[in-house]
Symmetry: C2
Subunit: 216 residues, 2 copies
């Protein structure tokens, strides 16, 4: 029974890693679509985000079946409860990246990013992709130093999020309301993507150390 | 043992209802603060949102302890897993309402809502509050008709959310970028609040009917 359970836990981990890779891939596609107004990439991002939703639902059902069959306690129970939460965060990350792709789609053939903010959004996208890849590594080997790196990268995303508002609310901003709406939402989606990565890393730290690593 | 378990489930339900009432109260305070630029109400909303976060964490820990002690299966297990998800949604609702209060705070003593959108945001706030009250009722007695009413009200929130963009992107919109940013984010927060209510109602339907009531 114990051996079956370990195999099942391993399977849950494998599926979480797969979903984490998928969500990161959606952000790669969405960020490229958003920066280059590429509607084909945007459509690929949206299709992948939908597929993540299905995978996360199916994983959650598996976790509930394992809970029912194995009645785990202590650490094993916490791993499974955390798996449900991590799957919810990964699904949201895919959805948020999908929203970024959606903005690129709406504005096509025009651009959603005014040139003054192109570098900022390029860096935000790169940071989110790097954060997504760190989640994959974190789920693979629960490396706590990685959790600290994640918090640092999230801090930089927050800085860039504030920078977007500084630019938009500055005297030099002459773009129309459509650009203002697009960059406001796109910046928010990038920032929330990073927040979910921080939440996931807090959950993994919790499993390793037994205490919630409260993050801002 | 069974009797203890039923008492514990009842306690979880009571605490979820309390958090649902708190989240609705935060939206009441935040909506009023946002519409009337009342910084005292905004501060109350922000303090209450923080308190919800603590309550939700503490409830989650209780649910995990019950899972460990009672090893529930089938419906009882699903109730507890759903409680974790519902608590996460309620916590987000409190946070989103808090973000609306934050916008009012930032713009004080100015207004965050241009007059052309005052009625729209008033209706959005009222709908969110009504939706929050419906969640309280839903958690109290798992009434499925209420779940349908919730979906209808959410549809209206989505309409208003689109209306905000129609106004902002229309030719008559002459407000500065600050208003554009504020109403874009405030509209998004109102809409996400309603989305979480729909998610919760889908989870409650699932407990009652055994099938996920997929909602758009």
């Amino acid at each position: 029974m114990r051996e079956v359970f370990q195999t099942e836990l391993k399977e849950v981990q494998t599926r979480l890693i797969e979903i984490a890779k998928d969500s990161t891939r959606v952000m790669e596609l969405a960020s490229a679509a958003f920066l280059t107004s590429d509607v084909t990439l945007a459509d690929q991002a949206l299709a992948s985000a939908d597929a993540i939703n299905e995978k996360a639902l199916s994983l959650d059902e598996s976790v509930i079946r394992i809970l029912a069959r194995q009645s785990p306690v202590s650490r094993d129970l916490r791993i499974l409860v955390s798996a449900l939460r991590i799957s919810a965060s990964l699904e949201r990350m895919g959805a948020l990246a999908g929203h970024i792709a959606q903005i690129a789609r709406f504005r096509y053939p025009g651009s959603a990013v005014p040139s003054v903010l192109a570098d900022t959004f390029k860096e935000m996208g790169e940071l989110d992709i790097r954060l997504g890849n760190k989640v994959v590594k974190l789920l693979e080997n629960t490396d706590l130093d990685l959790a600290k790196e994640i918090q640092a990268a999230d801090g930089r995303v927050d800085e860039l999020h504030r920078k977007v508002f500084d630019v938009v609310l500055g005297d030099d901003w002459k773009e129309n309301a459509m650009f203002t709406v697009d960059v406001t939402l796109a910046s928010r989606y990038h920032e929330r993507f990073a927040d979910h990565v921080v939440d996931i890393s807090a959950k993994v730290s919790y499993l390793t150390t037994g205490t919630w690593n409260e993050t801002e």
